[in-house]
Amino acid sequence: MSYTFKYLTVERAGFPPAKVPHLIVTLVGRENRIFNTAALVDSGADTCAMPKSVAEILGFDLDKAEETKIASASGFVEARKINVTIIVNLMREKRTILAPFNVIMGDFEPPVILGRAGFFENFHVCFSEKEKKFSLKPV
């Protein structure tokens, strides 16, 4: 079964409305700490990612996590590798995925990003940019 989601639309004074593909997920960290969030569904992201603040709320000790660097539009960014459980509560089924995440260090706080490795490989994902919708079909 396929599930369709509208892009999140936010009106902004002086700017065109922001329209972004988002999915509400539950992230589960250490000692079952949870973080429900509207995550950005990003087909251009190689992996899933989250800001440092989310990882800390989930109870991860980032000093002990493996260091890495990720390439962003603004250059290379310091990151840490962690594994996080993602729960996707679809209407008729619940998907639980253990996915690798890159934790973006520093002060930049993007939304949680659901990228290809760890997330897209669990679904057929289809975007309709014209209709501002996307669909997920679990595989």
């Binding site: 599930y3 989601f5 509208k6 999140l8 639309t9 936010v10 009106e11 902004r12 004074a13 002086g14 700017f15 922001a18 972004v20 988002h22 999915l23 509400i24 997920v25 539950t26 700490r33 949870i34 973080f35 429900n36 969030t37 509207a38 990003d42 251009g44 992201a45 990612a49 800001p51 603040s53 989310v54 800390e56 709320i57 962003s72 539009a73 729960i87 996707v88 509560n89 679809l90 209407m91 706080e109 993007p110 939304p111 990003i113």
Partner: protein
Amino acid sequence: MISASKASNLMMSIDLSSFSGEWVALEGAKILAHGKDLKGVHAQLKGISLSKILFTKVPGSETMIL
């Protein structure tokens, strides 16, 4: 947590335009806390179970290319 679709529709029924660029904590259609940094928003929720709270980063005025 309710289904992703229901939660998404509920979230989109709320006018978030005045929180552009901020993190917002929602419980259903009620805004519990908001602010520029997530840790500050989280701190405002001390003592509240996070199981029914949804955190969202409201898009700001910037174009996002990550």
